[in-house]
Symmetry: C2
Subunit: 428 residues, 2 copies
């Protein structure tokens, strides 16, 4: 294997430029580690003349990224454009068609089309790798697919959207309302073009779907994830949670149970002192629980030029070293169809609602809960100046189904203003 | 690759039995993941008739483990005997001689003979892998060698001896003296046959030497590590550290500096709230700082049947999948000789000593420090009942060399009882 490995890189934004820089500054080191030169043959992005702070003089430019896939001087397509359709998908398909390995950071594409793409890659004996798509610089795909290959995985847990964690921890630290921190994050360029991908939990959901597939040997099932975003979290929720010894995190949890595959991505209360509870800012954390390994906790930067490029390089070096591992850890055609769990395991819940201050209002709420078979652990009506009384309830273990029923019934009583916020309390 | 991968397992103790169990219970899963059957051809241990809680009926028994290496029905030798010499070394050498891949959990062997063994393996195109040798169930070798292959590694930090961390955290939690917790750990079977391997920092030193080699592309240099054990830590030190916001951990640190390769394994003060500070019990933590990835923190069980077997399986599955990566991440014959740093980077230090309660004693100590160019951040003489006054000093940044000089000079003053305890305060 002394021939160079030749790359075609599509997308020269944050990640693409990071990859270019690493390949240049670490060329010698990469050669020592992978046993061969890793070179860039050609690149592509939208605008040829944009100043990207790096020189592209030594690489052939392609206006159309898909053309990279038919170049005879390219062994590996590195797809860093993004998007579940469009040029990214066309490029990956063309690459596999033309016998090129693919490295991508594109969680949306894989969450949507991972199954057919992986099948195509494996039928052609090609690698399709995506370390950078999940949790940025943390090599969690490798840890799960290879490092824990000897385990039955019991559970996958993760905080995998740095922007949401940034928003939540900044709201807490500065006592700022959601809207203000959101606007701030937007100004700092932390949010995707469509911010609901971040704050709506969709981006993190894509990542969870990919991890689930590897962990449980099931086909990627993004639609099977119960997703809730952080949009309705108020500073009051963060404060109440803190009073009770919890933090609020946008938490992904996946496990294979007798009732089917449980996958959820939602804001949850986690113990303040736990590794998850202590996660600050844009940092990500991924936890795997294996039957033999026990709990393995991984922490690191979830995004950014350097960390994401580091993950892309890990895949490239594997390919340079001649390593071929199936995209989802076992041949894609052996992955079982995911059977979504009918309901998540019961848990205690945190409920916050606003009561119209009428006589008997609180009693009505308590009655509804009782009628739905939900018992109350704690209940508190907050001091209030106007006619709207904030009420806080912590339930004993109950199912999400019972809780949703109760919430509908509560709204029907006419004593509430707005819809209650319900957050699961996760025992880690 | 539809032929089975055939193993010869030597050593059927904690780890060996764990590996047997995983191979049996997870046979189907392992086949799906690695694309072929993984089978055990033959096994060996000291006593054939020992009850190990697992059946060995289906495997050929070899009285002499080294004989496994010449069996034609064995592709991979799994060495789980232990020890830097003796049958473990003889077996690994014979295996490489006879064209068998080797998977081992033996840090002592690799820390001592890793270089020649890796060279031999690579010359023969064989794998020599050791995931289980460092930090038990945490796939840290894989993360460093493969997951972070695109980085220049700035620093490696780790708490990698579970027994020491168990002793230190238990002393703190229960307020028990070192001797008592040591005896307890011994009774629980937590200590190696030669306990200085654990509490003397040698076992953790072996692990650090292996990580350093991969991180910095240098030959394994165990002798270059400045090693101190935890034997002199008293409950008083743990309490004083806690008062100042620190925990005491047996900490390994390696970095490549302009002054050479700095490697040390010693009890240090780390901030209470940091991931390292929060590490309880026998858990291990390994931190890699890459120039692109930033800080990657890995946490998990550092020992035990399941976690260690999980790591062994990771290596076996890699071999089954056809992956060949050099033992230390780049060909062993390209590793540079390590040039040990003359001195570690300066740091603040914690000093505890016992002063004979004579007039002017404290002044003498302060003078010695001043003479050695060490400035004092805090100094406190504790209340005491007898003529022995405990004194606590926190210095500003200074070198270990200056500190060692100062300690000698202090002892020469004749106002001390015993030798001061000096602990580095590590800024993570
Ligand atoms: N940023 C992160 O921290 C991060 C972390 C993990 C994963 N990812 C993933 O990595 C991928 C890239 O993200 P990014 O942050 O680097 O995005 P980005 O900064 O927006 O860059 C996207 C690049 O794609 C090019 N591009 C867009 N549409 C194109 C088209 N139709 N034809 C050709 N080129 C086109 C753009 O060209 P111009 O520059 O000419 O406009 C740009 O260079 C995405 O899948 C993302 O989800 C990013
Ligand atoms: N235990 C852990 O948690 C852990 C974690 C990481 C790494 N490791 C490493 O894994 C290796 C094994 O550790 P372990 O805890 O499993 O040790 P163990 O429980 O003491 O088992 C050692 C095994 O080796 C066999 N053995 C000893 N001397 C032998 C000889 N001369 N010929 C043939 N067999 C011999 C013993 O046979 P008998 O059973 O017949 O006496 C026993 O089965 C060591 O290198 C250790 O450092 C252990």
């Amino acid at each position: 294997m002394t021939t160079p490995l030749r790359l075609g890189i599509a997308g020269l934004g944050t990640v693409g430029v990071g990859v270019l820089k690493l390949l240049t500054t670490h060329a010698e080191r990469l050669k020592e580690r992978s046993g061969r030169d890793i070179v860039i043959s050609a690149v592509s992005a939208r605008s040829k003349n944009k100043d990207r702070g790096v020189s592209l003089d030594e690489y052939t430019w392609e206006d159309d990224p898909v053309s990279l896939a038919s170049r005879s001087d390219v062994d590996v397509i590195v797809e860093l454009i993004g998007g579940e359709d469009g040029p990214a998908k066309a490029l990956v398909e063309a690459a596999l068609e033309n016998g090129k390995h693919v490295v991508t950071a594109n969680k949306a594409l894989l969450a949507m089309s991972g199954q057919p793409l992986a099948e195509r890659a494996e039928a052609a004996g090609l690698s399709l790798r995506f370390e950078a798509a999940v949790a940025g610089g943390i090599p969690c795909i490798k840890v799960l697919t290879e490092g824990l290959a000897g385990n039955e995985i019991d559970r996958v847990i993760g905080v995998m959207n740095g922007t949401c964690n940034y928003i939540l921890t900044r709201m807490e630290a500065e006592g700022l309302p959601y809207e203000e921190v959101f606007a701030e994050a937007d100004k700092l360029g932390y949010l995707e073009a469509d911010p609901t991908l971040d704050v709506g939990g969709i981006d993190a959901g894509h990542k969870l779907a990919l991890l689930s597939s590897i962990a449980f040997g099931t086909q990627v099932d993004f639609d099977g994830i119960a997703i809730e975003g952080i949009e309705r979290i108020e500073i009051a929720d963060i404060r109440h949670a803190a009073d009770m010894g919890f933090k609020i995190k946008l938490l992904g949890v996946a496990k294979l149970t007798g009732r089917g595959l449980e996958q959820r991505m939602s804001p949850c209360l986690v113990p303040k002192g736990s590794p998850l509870g202590q996660l600050q800012g844009a940092t990500n954390m991924v936890i795997f629980e294996g039957d033999a390994s026990g709990q393995i906790v991984l922490r690191g930067a979830g995004a950014g030029e350097g960390p994401t490029a580091s993950a892309v390089l890990s895949d490239i070096v594997d390919i340079a070293r001649g390593y071929r591992v199936p995209t989802f850890g076992q041949p894609a055609d052996t992955l079982r169809a995911a059977r979504p769990a009918i309901a998540a395991a019961p848990a205690p819940f945190y409920l916050r609602m606003t009561l119209l201050d009428k006589p008997g209002a609180l009693a009505k709420i308590a009655t509804v809960l009782g009628d739905c078979g939900i018992s109350i652990d704690r209940m508190r009506q907050m001091a209030h100046a106007d006619r709207l009384a904030p009420v806080l309830i912590v339930t004993h273990k109950t199912t999400r189904t019972a809780l949703d029923e109760a919430v509908s019934a509560m709204e029907a009583t006419g004593v509430l203003q707005g819809t209650p916020v319900a957050l699961r309390i996760e025992v880690i």
